[in-house]
């Protein structure tokens, strides 16, 4: 049985080979995990500031929020644009296109395998965090945990689709990664990565919630941290963005492959 070109042996082979590939780069992945320290820097800034006290952002809730941001980032980081750009420029894409499998699945498998390899490092950093901030320790309830997993999975999907859309532009322009830099800016500032969106002025907050970005970090992080959050609205918005982006990506991809002529042709 095949679903979207995938059958069980294909899935197993893809994941096994990508995992073997990722394990080779353990040290590199550990460093990637470490490079996500930004939420902790922001946390230490908030915990000392006057603004934190007057806006009510302090204490255990804030620490859990930023640790959750860190975890959400660990599991929703996507680098399709860069991998795809390299594959397209070096001509590795051509053999991929000949296989009876959508090339994007290969990147999905690479990301899943990387998450598995990264997991112990992320947990290690979280453990160090709890050693430094023992009062902030919490274990989400099973229901909360499952909802958080779902929210993170959807966040990863939106992120992946957004980047795949930009990656598909590689078919038209050779430097699509420059566009990814533009995408990173609203992602950095409108997602709750640096500052909880609840701290934004009202107008800015309203604008943010019209974009997909709060659903990439703020929403899953709040679910994981057990802060007050509108579950229904959050999940509906996440599903809406997936439903909107998926056909766009497939269409852009199909149109792009049609005009793809490999490098040097």
């Amino acid at each position: 049985m095949k679903i979207a070109g995938l059958s069980w042996p294909v899935v197993r082979a893809l994941l096994a080979s990508q995992h073997a590939n990722m394990v080779q780069y353990r040290a590199e992945i550990a460093l990637w995990a470490l490079s996500g320290v930004l939420p902790f820097i922001m946390l230490s800034l908030w915990s000392e500031s006057d603004a934190g006290a007057s806006l009510g952002f302090k204490g255990v809730g804030l620490a859990r929020y930023y640790l959750s941001v860190f975890m959400v980032r660990q599991f929703s980081v996507v680098w399709v644009v860069f991998a795809f750009e390299e594959d397209a420029l070096l001509g590795r894409l051509s053999p991929f296109l000949l296989q009876p499998l959508h090339p994007l699945w290969r990147y999905v498998a690479a990301h899943v395998a990387e998450r598995v390899t990264r997991f112990p490092f992320s947990i290690g950093i979280a453990a160090i965090f709890f050693l430094l901030y023992p009062t902030s320790f919490w274990l989400p309830s099973l229901g909360q945990f499952l909802l958080a997993c779902l929210a993170i999975l959807l966040a990863f999907s939106i992120n992946f689709l957004l980047q795949s859309l930009i990656a598909a532009l590689c078919f038209w322009s050779e430097k699509a990664s420059a566009l990814e830099r533009l995408l990173l800016i609203p992602y950095l500032y409108c997602s709750g990565w640096l500052v909880p969106i609840a701290a934004f002025p009202d107008a800015a907050r309203t604008v943010c919630f019209w974009t997909p970005f709060p659903y990439l970090i703020d929403f899953p992080a709040r679910v994981l941290a057990g802060l007050s959050v509108d579950f229904v609205a959050g999940f509906v918005a996440q599903l809406f963005w997936v439903a909107l982006l998926l056909p766009l990506v497939l269409m852009a991809w199909r149109a792009g492959v049609r005009r793809y002529t490999a490098m040097g042709a």
Partner: protein
């Protein structure tokens, strides 16, 4: 000396000509720069309002820090990132051989070979922000202050260069280290805010271990006329130590360089 200056002129002239071929990229870089500055000023503004302060710094004073951060970020996009990022490639592909064979100092070559003009507008914008915010904060620009400020900016630049260079040079052993520089960049982002805004333990780390304080906070203090002499001396001392250290480390690392596939 003259040979080095002439080489620099050639290096940067050719790099500039090469970069100008990608005009759309330049435009995107410009947009990204304006967007990220606007974003970081917005994040900073969340900490202020209603007469609040951040670690004893007023809004205008904190903007000076932000301006210096922007300026240094421009410096790193212009020189540090393109040059030091290429060291990894040189090691992996073995092209460091050709650099070592050139009749010019190899650290000079790998550190200054390329110039990416995309960072220049960012440096300009940073300077404008520094001057504007400092005059709003009531700083007086006497010749002495300006000279000391420029000196401390250079100190910051040297420390930044040395940290980055040492990490990049470890690629001689570990080959793939460009994500180690990502860790460094993530930590350096703490320089967007005055160092006194952090908890005491981190403040100590940012002064002595990873001297982020000397990159942005100390030059800002000089401009605002509130710098303490011991900090300036410590900054100068650290800059010398870091630079000499990076030099020694490079010479040490080269002894272990065995070219690619050997």
């Amino acid at each position: 000396m003259g040979r080095y200056l002439l080489s620099l002129k050639r290096f940067w002239g050719t790099a500039l000509a090469g970069q100008l071929e990608y005009q759309v990229n330049m435009l995107i870089d410009l947009l990204a720069m304006v967007g990220s500055l606007a974003g970081s000023i917005f994040v900073l503004s969340v900490f202020f309002g209603q007469g609040r302060e951040l670690g004893g710094w007023s809004w205008e004073a904190a903007l000076v820090v932000q301006g210096i951060y922007t300026f240094l970020d421009g410096v790193s996009s212009t020189w540090l990132r393109p040059n030091l990022g290429a060291i990894v490639t040189h090691v992996r592909e073995g092209t460091l051989d050709f650099v070592l064979l050139k009749p010019i100092d190899s650290q000079f070559w790998v550190s200054l070979r390329i110039m990416a003009p995309a960072g220049l507008p960012e440096m300009g914008l940073g300077l404008v922000l520094i001057v504007w915010a400092a005059s709003r904060a009531g700083a007086s620009f006497s010749l002495g202050t300006v000279l000391v400020a420029v000196l401390m900016l250079c100190v910051g630049g040297v420390i930044l260069y040395a940290l980055w260079f040492v990490i990049a040079a470890t690629s001689i052993w570990f080959v793939k280290t460009w994500n180690a520089t990502e860790v460094l960049r993530a930590v350096l982002a703490s320089g967007r805010f005055p160092v006194s805004a952090y908890p005491p333990a981190l403040r100590l780390v940012f002064t002595l271990v990873l001297p982020v304080a000397f990159l942005t906070t100390v030059p800002a203090e000089v401009i605002l006329g509130r710098a303490a002499m011991p900090m300036l001396a410590l900054g100068l001392f650290l800059a010398v130590i870091f630079f000499v250290g990076s030099r020694a480390f490079w010479l040490f690392a080269l002894r272990y360089y065995t070219s690619a596939s050997s």
